[in-house]
Amino acid sequence: MAQMTMIQAITDALRTELRNDPNVLVFGEDVGVNGGVFRATEGLQKEFGEERVFDTPLAESGIGGLAVGLALQGYRPVPEIQFFGFVFEVMDSISGQLARMRYRSGGRYHSPVTIRSPFGGGVHTPDMHADSLEGLMAQQPGLKVVIPSTPYDAKGLLISSIRDNDPVIFLEHMKLYRSFRQEVPEGEYSIPLGKADVKREGTDLSIITYGAMVHESLKAADELAKEGYSVEVIDLRTIAPLDIETIVASVEKTGRAIVVQEAQKQAGIAAQVVAEINDRAILSLEAPVLRVAAPDTVFPFPQAEAVWLPNYKDVIETSKKVLTF
């Protein structure tokens, strides 16, 4: 075991899969000799060579097309989109092409592609760097969308994503890259995609969340415990497909739930979680399922992040509304 930050765990997962499978290729803007703008691919080109880890011209759509084509030649591409706000340039390659390859070809071809990309607020990035756009991806049949919140989850989920024979969008929250260290096992291990994780057990309220909001929710749960509330925190880990079983089991136990996301209320996937709970566990509910989300404006100018981004105080406030409904 080693103490790792999330970014180190990600590099470790990439190194593990580059070693395991000669078809794994890592490419993107500045991922080679530079080791990535966040050092996620640090040292990989040196260890595996330019044939396996390489830079591309500055064009996201071209990177997406490269992934489609390399997959058609039997490779297992792990491209990087430097910031997920730039996904709009490559929406067709992802949603119009990769997601549909298996279906369009009746199973003749498939796309074992993992797109890695940083996102998330709280670090004062310029425009179009931090937007939470996972909701767009979650609406596309043919994709899976994974968002880890810890170094341990990041490594196991990235290894599973790379080994998956269908396209996976792997979103890495920038604020979580180096915010804390965690024990991460050496060597390979995997965490199944589509499986949530109960990060804290409780009996009074279920908080269903993902990404940086997992930590805000855990902080809120600590505070609420001081007031005598027992809060369960579920980290979705995969937001498409949802782990319905874990969500429903928790809500049936607690009878109350909120969904917490960093994305705007009209975006993200909270509405989908609420709908699933209403469909499947309405008879267990003591109160409506409320959402914590950002205001429905464009992502804030950097100086306005603190007042705009949801945090543990918002989680406490909404939790209390539901607990005292």
């Binding site: 044939e51 591309t56 011209p57 064009a59 759509s61 071209g62 997406g64 097309g65 490269l66 992934a67 489609v68 084509g69 390399l70 997959a71 058609l72 030649q73 039997g74 490779y75 067709d92 390659s93 119009g96 092409q97 298996r102 279906y103 369009r104 070809s105 009746g106 199973g107 003749r108 071809y109 498939h110 049949p141 043919g142 899976k144 998956d164 024979n165 269908d166 589509g194 498409a240 497909p241 949802l242 782990d243 319905i244 079983e245």
Partner: protein
């Protein structure tokens, strides 16, 4: 009034200089006479006959497809008549291991690369069995998103290069498609990686109703290769020998590690853009149609082969009969394909169905068993 500076004058000369570098390659003129011995490709008598056979067959395939579409026995169809030299002579220059990424009008290339005709018809109708490409046939389904095939081709070509394969990826788009960002990104990436790719632009002068001069102020489309730093060549796309020669040479360069080529074929579609209600008389004159019909690739190649004693009416009739028979048989095979069920569509989404699909699969299975 702005004064004419020396710089301004030089800029105009620069455009002229560029244009002059993209002269049209032609080998056969409209009368079937060889006007360029030097670039004559090395094809045997049998190969020349085979190329003519494919062109005649495909002209019949187009006529029958239009008719079957009108009868409601085919769905989406983008006519190909006029583009036989551009489509078939380029495919004829390929080897089996080469990979084709076609546009939506490029079904004939797939058929001659090994896709059964019945599957091409199923694709037209909208059936998933249509593009379940047989193993060993190196093609992708026709691309509907104009330009996407270009960026994907670079990926396929780079894959071949990494494997050390002596093969190429080839793709096709139209004149309108050259305005897309993916067109430029595709050729530029391939140039940067020196990937073995052949990019063909079939310039039939119209993107639906929009003439090519509304797409760009560039005098040729071939010169767009300059932006990627790769060779570009403009060929008479109604001349099968010129198209074959250009693609053959581009293939040689590619498999020898010299990178990609952009080939513009000057061609024409005699029919509408697609069979979905497009009416070319709204945007094309009869004079223009007549002018291009004189350039028909079949007419000039027929004359060329007849003069060499390699072709006659009897041979052509036999090809026509064979095509009609094959088409009849393929439609029968397509008719016999089982109807698609929702559970079929669910089964081809992922290797392993996620929870939501598993649930929905059970619901539809129950519906389908009623």
């Amino acid at each position: 009034m702005a004064s004419k500076t020396k710089t301004q004058l030089n800029v105009m000369q620069q455009l002229k200089d560029i244009e002059e570098q993209f002269q049209t390659l032609q080998i056969l003129n409209e009368d079937g006479q060889v006007v360029n011995e030097a670039d004559m490709p090395d094809l045997s008598d049998e190969q020349l006959q085979e190329l003519m056979t494919r062109m005649v067959y495909t002209r019949i395939l187009d006529q029958r497809s239009i008719s079957l579409n009108r009868q409601g026995r085919l769905g989406f169809y983008a006519p190909t008549a006029g583009q036989e030299a551009s489509q078939l002579a380029s495919q004829y220059a390929l080897e089996k291991e080469d990979f084709i990424l076609p546009g939506y009008r490029d079904v004939p290339q797939l058929v001659w690369h090994g896709l059964p005709l019945s599957q091409a018809f199923l694709w037209s109708r909208g059936h998933f069995e249509g593009m379940k490409i047989p193993e060993g046939v190196n093609v992708l389904h026709p691309q509907i998103i104009i330009g996407a095939q270009y960026v994907q081709t670079t990926g396929v070509a780079l894959g071949m290069k990494k494997r050390g394969a002596k093969s190429v990826a080839i793709t096709y788009t139209g004149d309108g498609g050259t305005s897309q960002g993916d067109f430029y990104e595709g050729i530029n990436f391939a140039g940067a990686y020196k990937a073995p790719a052949i990019f063909i632009v079939q310039n039939n002068r119209f993107a639906i109703s929009t003439p090519v001069d509304k797409q760009s102020a560039a005098k040729t489309l071939a010169q767009k290769a300059v932006a990627a730093g790769i060779p570009g060549i403009q060929v008479d796309g109604m001349d099968p020998l010129a198209v074959y020669a250009a693609v053959h040479e581009a293939r040689e360069r590619a498999v020898n590690g010299e990178g990609p080529t952009l080939i513009e074929t000057l061609t024409y579609r005699y029919g509408p853009h697609t069979m979905a209600g497009d009416d070319p008389t709204r945007y094309r004159t009869a004079d223009l149609d007549n002018e291009w019909e004189k350039k028909d690739p079949l007419v000039r190649f027929r004359k060329f082969l007849e003069a060499k004693g390699l072709w006659n009416e009897e041979k052509e009739s036999a090809v026509i009969e064979k095509a009609k028979e094959d088409i009849k048989e393929a439609i029968k095979v397509a008719d016999a394909a089982p109807k698609q069920k929702v559970t079929d569509l669910m089964s081809i989404m992922y290797e392993e169905m996620p929870q939501n699909l598993k649930e929905q699969f059970e619901l539809y299975k129950a519906k389908e068993s009623k």
